[in-house]
Symmetry: C2
Subunit: 240 residues, 2 copies
């Protein structure tokens, strides 16, 4: 925690507003992923899964603190809360529309929703000013699940095992994944409509990443996120 929030600025005042916005929404998403994985740990079917998902939750929170540390004097609670505050509640509608009592569906919701969010933030990072572009990507870059290091690696491994052993579950999860990705992409476009800082990052990212002139930045972004989602479902051996 910051020693005395009143006596020193929580955030580095030289950080551009779009970078603060990206860190804020990404940190908020990691906190949500922490909560989701921790909840699935608490009601996990066995001790190994419970431990695995707790470790995944811990990793999501570590990444969140690394993000906050990019723009704050300390990576403390007050700085994190200040960065996330403009985005408080932004996931409520997504959560309501993807609520489920099923344990595996809840876990897949995290993998799909967090996966789309990660791809979104990584793309936006390409629009950030130097030196933040590289720093953001260093934190947001998520190793392949096969290297077993991302926050979702444990969740992915659990889902691959469950779906591989049960065709009926695999079909149900494939259907559920399509519903969750639809809601996640709706949230992305809502954010671009309502948050000018994120929209400006998306414009700059499209330029940086050589977006062809046909189509809007938004349709380019949605196509990009959809393609990443399809690859993710392939890794899960589920139909996208």
């Amino acid at each position: 925690m910051s020693s005395d929030p009143a006596s020193e600025p929580l955030l580095d005042p030289s950080v551009p507003a779009p970078v603060c916005a990206l860190v804020g929404i990404a940190a908020y998403t990691e906190l949500a992923e922490f909560g989701l994985l921790a909840a699935r740990s608490v009601d996990a079917p066995d001790l190994t899964t419970r431990q695995s998902l707790a470790v995944g939750a811990e990793r999501a929170l570590t990444r969140q603190q690394d993000l906050v540390g990019l723009v704050a004097a300390g990576s403390g609670v007050a700085a994190a809360a200040s960065l996330m505050a403009p985005f408080e509640g932004v996931l409520v509608e997504f959560d309501t529309r993807t609520a489920t009592d099923d344990w595996a569906e809840g876990l897949l919701k995290g993998v799909v929703g967090h996966g789309v969010a990660q791809d979104f933030y990584r793309t936006l990072a390409a629009g950030a000013a130097s030196p933040y572009r590289k720093r953001l990507r260093d934190v947001l870059e998520q190793p392949e699940p096969s290297r077993n290091a991302g926050a979702d690696a444990e969740a992915l491994a659990v889902l691959v095992r469950l779906a591989g052993a049960d065709d009926v579950l695999a079909s149900r999860l494939a259907l559920w994944g399509r519903r969750v990705v639809g809601e996640a992409l709706n949230l992305v476009t809502d954010l671009l409509d309502s948050r000018a800082e994120l929209a400006s990052l998306a414009e700059d990212a499209a330029r940086t990443l050589d977006h062809a002139a046909d189509g809007t930045v938004r349709s380019w972004l949605v196509a990009r996120l959809t393609a990443e989602h399809t690859r993710r479902m392939d890794r899960l051996r589920l139909a996208a």
Copy 2:
């Protein structure tokens, strides 16, 4: 995670069985504390509290992994699960008897229950063989809450703030704390009855810590844990 659980032992075979038992129950308790703090983070009343309790949960899991690392080749998921397995379900009755829908009561349950458990394990560590005695204490030693570093430090700070602003809540929490500590002490004596390794550590701890000859080891231990609980409630400014 361990690279190949089949090819190498998960646990160091030279570790005495009572030390493995103490690490197993302590690791299991930290995993439970992780889950409790994470759950109270998810439904916290504001973003700062939500972040604080997530950080506390993360710290409980870090301590758990440090404990596992004392006796395992790696601090991986498989080693943790293997150490905790003999204690799976041991908290179910305690959890049932201290179930609450009230957010502040749920948080105090964690502080009181986890506090008694920590004091119990620290005391048992005094009965462990060298060099484990010192190593266990180094991990289990919890700094004073004023130094804001223990897993429960954030929960303590939140409860002090809430109870300080609301006398009715403070009275209710004081009553609740007495109920939780009663159940926690029942669990401690059940564990001493049912787990020979823990009972033998308690015997050795009593000798090491100069337990006077009158009274049983169990009554000495309960008196010791009760005194620590009273100090803890004082720090919370609640009547024990």
